[in-house]
């Protein structure tokens, strides 16, 4: 038994105003507890030695352990894996993106082999900031989930655990995702994983983006017509670029407004809007997009985070360096072909 897996669940994702402006569903606390319980079940079956989780006010991981016990599932106490929170300063709980990044950082210091996340694109951005270049297994627990892998939590837990126990047994089953570096107003905020958008008006407000009329321009790492959010908008707009195997650095720069095409695209789940796109072009590797947008906010992965006063320049640079992502399907296929779970004893029940 070897391997350490990190677990980051964002208790606050998928609850914002987009529940009213689109068909985004609420991912309530019980759905999170359920997903985490399934991940833990997969990790236990993979015989991971240690699970380190981000402690947060909703105590989702503790409740997931209770849920596993309630169904008579193997309990980690007295059997693998050991499940413990990472140490965080102050009150010891993560309450925001900075806390999430601190937790990821602590996990990296503890030597985790990968981190399973259940949150939105913003959660993954924070984890990537705390563990630059780290290996993520990002499950779709947010609103648009453009960065997440489409995997069922039990499978994700099993794959993460099998990989963590023996990374060398699964060569070539991680890929490095690109990201977007931003310089704004002298600050260097965390890189974005999916998109950076400039939005009219200097007020961060409720963070979420939902009104296409307020979009000025955007840079999207991986256009994907099957995604929702700006990745989907960029994916739907011609000229089309194949979504999956985009060479690293081939991000797309969109300028919104009249004079180009109007594309019907999924700005949010179930929210198909006509988005006016004046221009759309792929960016060369290392090409910088520079803008002076006036009174605006900079949105990272669909959430307004930085407020700009008029005259402030913003630079966005796509880079091939970002977090790594585990190929869940690939790991499980390799394990099946090799018979890794054949004749493996189940973890003892209580």
């Amino acid at each position: 038994m070897t391997g350490t897996v990190g677990l980051v669940v964002n208790p606050g994702a998928a609850r914002d105003v987009r529940r009213l402006t689109s068909l985004a569903r609420t991912v309530d606390v019980h759905e999170r507890i359920n997903a985490v319980a399934r991940v833990l079940a997969g990790l236990a079956a993979a015989r991971v030695e240690r699970v380190l989780f981000m402690p947060e006010p909703s105590a989702i991981v503790s409740r997931a352990l209770d849920l596993l016990a309630a169904i008579g599932a193997p309990a980690p106490a007295g059997g693998p894996p050991r499940v413990a929170p990472v140490h965080l300063p102050g009150e010891g709980l993560a309450r925001d993106a900075a806390g999430t990044a601190a937790a990821a950082s602590a996990m990296a210091e503890e030597g985790v082999d990968c981190v399973v996340t259940f949150g939105g694109d913003g959660t993954n951005r924070a984890v990537a900031a705390g563990w630059p270049g780290g290996l993520l297994v990002p499950l779709p627990g947010g609103t648009n989930n453009a960065f997440a892998v489409r995997a069922e939590p039990t499978a994700a837990g099993l794959a993460a655990g099998l990989f963590a126990a023996e990374p060398d047994a699964f060569p070539g089953l991680t890929r490095q995702a690109p990201s977007l570096e931003v310089h704004a107003d002298g600050a260097t905020p965390w890189a974005a994983l999916v998109d950076v958008a400039l939005v009219r008006g200097p007020w961060i407000g409720t963070h979420a983006l939902w009104d296409p009329a307020l979009l000025i321009e955007a840079v999207v790492t991986c256009p994907d017509p099957a995604a929702s959010g700006l990745a989907g908008v960029a994916g739907m707009a011609p000229p089309a670029v194949r979504g999956d195997a985009v060479p690293s650095g081939r991000a797309v720069h969109l300028v919104f407004g009249e004079g180009g095409v109007e594309v019907l695209a999924p700005l949010g789940p179930g929210q198909l809007e006509r988005v006016a796109i004046r221009s759309r072009r792929p960016l060369a590797v290392g090409e910088v997009v520079r803008s002076i947008p006036g009174a605006a906010t900079v949105a990272f992965d669909g959430e307004r985070e930085i407020s700009l006063l008029p005259g402030t320049p913003v630079e966005v640079r796509p880079v091939p360096r970002g977090p790594h992502v585990l190929d869940v399907d690939g790991v499980l296929r390799a394990a099946a072909v090799r018979g890794d779970l054949v004749d493996r004893a189940p973890v003892p029940r209580r």
Partner: protein
Amino acid sequence: MPSDDVLRDLHRQMVRIRIFEEAMVSVYQEGKTPAFDIAAGPVPGEMHLAAGQEPAAAGVCAHLRPSDAVTATHRPHHVALAHGMDMSRLAAEIFGKDAGLGHGKGGHMHLFDTETNFGCSGIIAEGMPTAVGHALAFKKLGRDDIAVSFFGDGAANQGAFHESLNLAALWNLPVVFVCEDNAWAISVPKDKSTAIPNNSDRGAAYGIPGVLVADNDPVAVYEAAGEAVARARRGGGPSLIEIKTDRLLGHFEGDPQLYRTKEEMDRLRERDAIRAFEGRLVETGALDEAGRDRVWQEARVEVDAAIEFARQSPYPAPESALDHVFA
């Protein structure tokens, strides 16, 4: 995206509410010292003040008309003022004077104003079924007015909360439920009373969309409430908005708040929503420093005048004791 005029008005509302609540702190204590006597002084009875919760009231009520019905709680002043209640009549009612909204017979927790269709009471969650009733009436009358129910995190555990959400969803009523989560139900912290961390999740049990506004910020509230109000007005039915807000004062005036740490109180004061919002308004140029100072000065003048009006107003005549009451 709110215009500069809207932003300045949000600021003005929050400032006048804060000045009013702070004035109530000192007015309430008059006559009650050295030994606390709840019946003594110009403001007898209890007092529950909403300093810190201004963003919730201002951000929601900015979208409302006087004909929209608003119900609130035992901590009502910020909502009442944001919805347009006359400050002098509010103050007179608190002082128990005949010129008050209820001829002085309701007091600070029982404010009923036909001009702004406002009502509140001290019974936890009482305002929720009342708001549902208003919404039912609007729907039957074919009006595009809506009802808004303000309640707290403690009220969300009352039966009336669940009954109200169920009926509003069943009949697709134009009502917006606004939960001001200030983390304390009197002295009970939410995690000791509530099975789930976010009451906005509870909407799902009734098919009502729930939105969490995690910042005590008037623009965040304004944006979320705008969508909920528009949805209700166009016949889209009820919504539930949960706002994380800050109760800067005690549950009641005179509350020693032994259950709260100094660290928490210091943290809340440091992140005062009015100061943060005001700073941003000045930075973006929506307000200059002279304009900002003028807002505070005008608010002080308005509050002083309202309290003076209340002080000078006569009490109801003893002969009218049995008027205006049901028995």
